[in-house]
Symmetry: C2
Subunit: 119 residues, 2 copies
DNA sequence: CAGTTAGTTAACCAGATGGTGAAATGAAGC
DNA sequence: GCTTCATTTCACCATCTGGTTAACTAACTG
């Protein structure tokens, strides 16, 4: 497994159960049993998901008698946001159309036996 | 494996090699060999990474003689951005401090034998 | 045609992941 | 101390992942 924080964050988020848990925690802290309730899987399975989230620093856990309340720690998501923002220019529609146009130009160059530039 | 688009996108991004490939493609399309050059892994390994990215719709591939040029398809990243933006309020520092304050209050309630509310 | 270049597919491997049931731990309540 | 509730740990399992080497396909080149 990769150990950098961003990879850790992305792989923690790559599971709908874990994203649902985060969504729930956005509404306030919750115990493991409460977090597990909406899912059909067993408690140990949820416990594992929580460990993944904790390792990714997306949650932290306290202690209140026999409960281990979980709380959202969204800081790593800021790093995700920073990363994804760098691609913002590439997903706007007008860029897509310009892109297609450039591809067409390149195809025409190819017809003329021009070498392609793969920079 | 989970099949929803968002999980597919997150897990495709959860690998530094694949993120590096996307970064490279942000500078323009490239052949498989060119994409593989910076890495010490073999070509089939890169080919697999490209297949993951393609399945996540983060790249598309053309055909130019013996080359299979790859191009960035950043649209799925918009979905990631939308998802992560919902947590923006949770990673700002002042919220964190307010949060800690509320936890402290809750601890005090516990000292008074007040029942906790986990909603 | 034979040879070269670009890339994929196939078979394999080690280790991670996501789930299970059963047993262990920890704290509270009687 | 025994019981109960919340949660974790353990042992196990199937599947996915990320890498390898070797063999194959596809297209150009001479």
């Amino acid at each position: 497994m990769t150990t950098d924080q961003l990879s850790l964050t992305f792989s923690a988020l790559a599971d709908p159960t874990r994203r649902a848990i985060l969504a729930r925690l956005a509404g306030g802290e919750a115990s493991v049993k409460e977090l597990a309730a909406p899912f059909k899987m067993t408690l140990p399975a949820v416990s594992k998901h929580l460990k993944v989230l904790e390792r990714a620093k997306l949650i932290s856990r306290g202690r209140d008698a026999q409960w281990r309340p979980c709380r959202l720690r969204a800081e790593p998501l800021r790093e995700v946001d920073d990363w994804v923002e760098r691609y913002g220019q590439f997903w706007d529609e007008s860029f897509g159309r310009l892109d297609d146009y450039l591809v067409e130009l390149q195809s025409k160059e190819k017809d003329h036996d021009e070498p392609k530039d793969y920079r």
